[in-house]
Amino acid sequence: MKLSKRGSALVATGIAGAMVLSACGGGSSSDGGGSGEGGSGQVVFGEPTAFPENIYPFISAGNSTATQTIIGRVLPSAFNVSPDFSVTWDENILASEPTLEDNGGQQVNTYEINPDAVWSDGTPITADDFAFTWKANRSADPADGGCEAVLSTNGYANIASVEGGGDDNKTVTVTYTEPYADWQSLFSTFLPAHLMDNEDPTALCETISNGFPIADGIIDDISAGPFQVKKENIDVGGQIVILTPNPEWWGEPAKLARLVIQNVGNDPTTTVQGLQNQELGVVYPQPQLDLVDQLDGLEPGVENKITFGLTFEHLDFNTTDPILSSLPVRQAFAMALDRQEIVDQTVGQFSSDAQVLDNRLYVNNQPEYQDNAPDEYKSQNTAQAKQLLEGDGWVLGADGIYAKGGQRLSIRIDTTANNPLRQTTIEVMIPQLKEAGIEATFNANPDIFADVDKPTSLVAGGFQAALFAWVSTPFVSSNQSIYYSPENGLGQNYSRIGTPEIDQLLSQMVSEPDPDKAADLANQVDQALWAQMATLPLYQKPTLIAYQSSISNVEDNASQTGPLWNAETWAVSS
């Protein structure tokens, strides 16, 4: 085809435009770090969750999984959660295990910082950094010198003082006004005082509210871990962050020259084809059955592993509902369920390691886990369920469903919309309940997590039974708001019931700084919750990690620490 002059001009303009646009692409400059800083090879980690806007973890904008992926091996931490969910002190950051003392009713913790520990600009890590981290998170009330942007003051608000001492200010003494069970969760990520501290609370609050916007990176590119994030290695348009070894790191150096964190979304096909085409090294997607099958097809070049994580599914019964306010009905409901069958039909499809969860405060593979379920709930117990209902005045109708005073024993189970796993769970429950004369229906409720203005939300209480997830943690205090009596404020106690005994145990638990004793109290709480039968744990959700078999030392850590927990030991064999 012969083009007219005008036509060729148009095409030429278009092509030139495309080239100009492409030239603006890329993002990171070519003189960035990477070479000559030790380590060799590159691994691309495909991050499934949204690219973070901010990587300062103590404000809302930076409080995300993706933030933890980026800063987890960059900013220092006093304690870490291991893959087996035990809590261990960081042997690089600290010189010895922190001590716990009871000083006349006051909790006192002493940390000895490793004498070699330095920030990447050469400034030693000292007690000042602990003190500053406390100062930055102690209060959200400006009248009190705090900052409104602080997302959570839990624990830090209990601290009376953080004092330095010893040689070079390396000994930290933390004194609490009230004892705090989860003191080990504090100072996990602590901040560089020499770069961020400010005498003026208003100016400090501005620093905190601003956080670390992703385009600017971490303040002064500071690091105190095996890796560092340089501002020039953050490509916001491409949603790529490249970690490079921190040359000032005093521990075992990172084996890789570059660890690339690329946001690839959660599309199973993209993940599989990215691995197949060698573009992704390690992925951590939401497990789906067809995805696992496809990954199995890539063996032995790509390995995958299912782990059971801290997220668990459970039922909440609304005890303000006319039917479910009766304890025998709730007990009968729980006994009528064959939870082993539910597990087999849902998470059991992923791995034969799936188990029924018999504890609300700890999941099966946590070291503190105890099977607290009374025997009658261990397996399907239709006969006893019927007995309980009949004892409560329910009469079996001609349609095989119990009724009492004209009221059918019909319970609607709400759950989130578009969640196949939860839908299957309820669909397995329905016939089991039917056997015991209980009619159950499935209801996908898009407003389940909405505010009080939506009547069917959990907060507003317009539901009968609800299936959703909680996240367990080695740190017990987050459970208090779920099981505390509603008289203390609803918190997250959507079943709306509590007893003075449970309240008493919970308050003891959250102020018991000895981890073993706190775990013992937590298990006592769970035993009391079985008797109350307002919530029923079902199963842990799986997590899935897959990686090129040429990358060594990849191991899932299903806790909040995330799969990059040991990234400095990753190595690529060519």
Binding site: M1, K2, R6, G14, I15, G17, A18, L21, S22, C24, G25, G26, G27, S28, S29, S30, G32, G34, S35, Q42, V44, A50, F51, E53, N54, S60, A61, A140, S152, N210, G211, P213, A215, N233, G237, G238, Q239, I240, I242, R258, V260, Q262, V264, G265, T269, T270, Q273, N277, Q278, E279, F449, A450, D451, S477, S478, N479, Q480, S481, G491, Q492
Partner: protein, 329 residues
């Protein structure tokens, strides 16, 4: 022409304001930016939630919120996301990503559509016409995500196996980290390797329907009296078809393509997702609707609407280029 353009622009602004008002109303009624906080364990304090509510301006009456947003836009400020990042800063980058992905694809699609459309019309009911018709309908019927997945699986896999090294890529715009240690041809070939599949996917799927428009427009023109007259005057066939036929037959295609390009700038949503390009479509779905972020949704709406309006204007100007009668009027 000038007054015509001015009138069109004024009308477009009114349309933009009306649509932004409607979308604002829908978002304000359905978005709940605080939902994610209520799922935290333990939940933030009520004071914290009240503070966020105040900061996001959720306590103000609906019309006041809209007014704040609108006056902000007039100053070039699209507001901030819930996480406190200015939307204005992000829109530019997103637009460039989408622009890089679609521009080459559009050029290829338009050229292919014109060539195939003209051949189909000139050789109507010949084997080539049947073949192109069949191909076009197959491509129109293919879902984007499936076609893209097939390309990644077989084309990328096949080509890479053939060369025994990475030539085509399935994720992103360039191999991450490559610009840290490579430059020049290595970098550019890598970027081209990343661009090939999204371009093929977009170009083929857009070209298919466009070629049908071109074919039917060409058929209309070929049967008209002035074509016969031109032939009767002794002009060679090829010259008649190109000069008199094609030029007139391009007018309908111009309209369709202009609308299509305008819409594509709003994001080739599925193509972006499948090839992991973080462009406008992802911005709307993930950052806007996914995060319940009203400023993101409206910023997206305004920018993509501006492109639709802009390309419609371009189409109007192109009519004048193609058809001298419009210039005189």
């Amino acid at each position: 022409m000038f007054f015509f353009t001015v009138r069109r622009i004024i009308a477009s602004v009114l349309v933009l304001i009306a649509s932004s008002f409607l979308v604002f109303a829908l978002c304000a009624a359905s978005f709940d930016p605080l939902a994610k906080f209520r799922q935290r364990q333990p939940p933030p304090t009520q004071e914290y939630l009240d503070g966020v509510r105040e900061q996001l301006g959720l306590n103000e009456p609906f019309l006041v919120r809209y007014w704040h947003w609108l006056t902000g836009v007039l100053r070039g400020d699209f507001g901030e996301t819930i996480g406190g990042t200015p939307v204005t800063d992000q829109l530019g980058g997103r637009l460039l990503v989408t622009g890089r992905m679609i521009l080459l694809a559009i050029i290829i699609a338009v050229l292919l559509a014109v060539i195939v459309g003209v051949i189909g019309a000139v050789r109507q009911y010949k084997p080539s016409d049947y073949a192109f018709t069949f191909l076009a309908y197959v491509l129109i019927a293919l879902p984007t995500f499936w076609f893209a997945a097939i390309l990644k699986e077989f084309v990328a896999g096949g080509v890479n196996d053939l060369f025994g090294q990475q030539v085509l890529y399935t994720i992103g715009e360039e191999t991450p980290g490559l610009s840290l240690y490579a430059s020049g041809w290595e970098l550019w070939s890598d970027r081209i390797g990343h661009l090939v599949l999204p371009t093929i996917s977009l170009a083929l799927l857009s070209f298919a329907s466009w070629s049908r428009f071109q074919r039917s427009a060409m058929l209309d023109v070929l049967g008209s009296d002035y074509m016969r007259l031109a032939r009767a005057k002794g002009l060679p066939y090829r010259r008649v078809v190109m000069k008199h036929g094609l030029r007139n037959a391009l007018i309908p295609l111009t309209t369709v393509v202009a609308l299509g390009i305008g819409t594509l700038f709003g994001g080739a949503v599925i193509t972006e997702q499948v090839f992991v390009w973080h462009g406008m479509g992802e911005y709307l779905l993930q950052n806007g609707i996914g995060q319940n972020d009203i400023n993101v949704v409206l910023g997206w709406l305004l920018v993509s609407a501006v492109f639709v309006v802009l390309f419609n204007l371009v189409a109007d100007v192109l009519y004048a280029v193609l058809d001298p009668r419009i210039r005189l009027a």
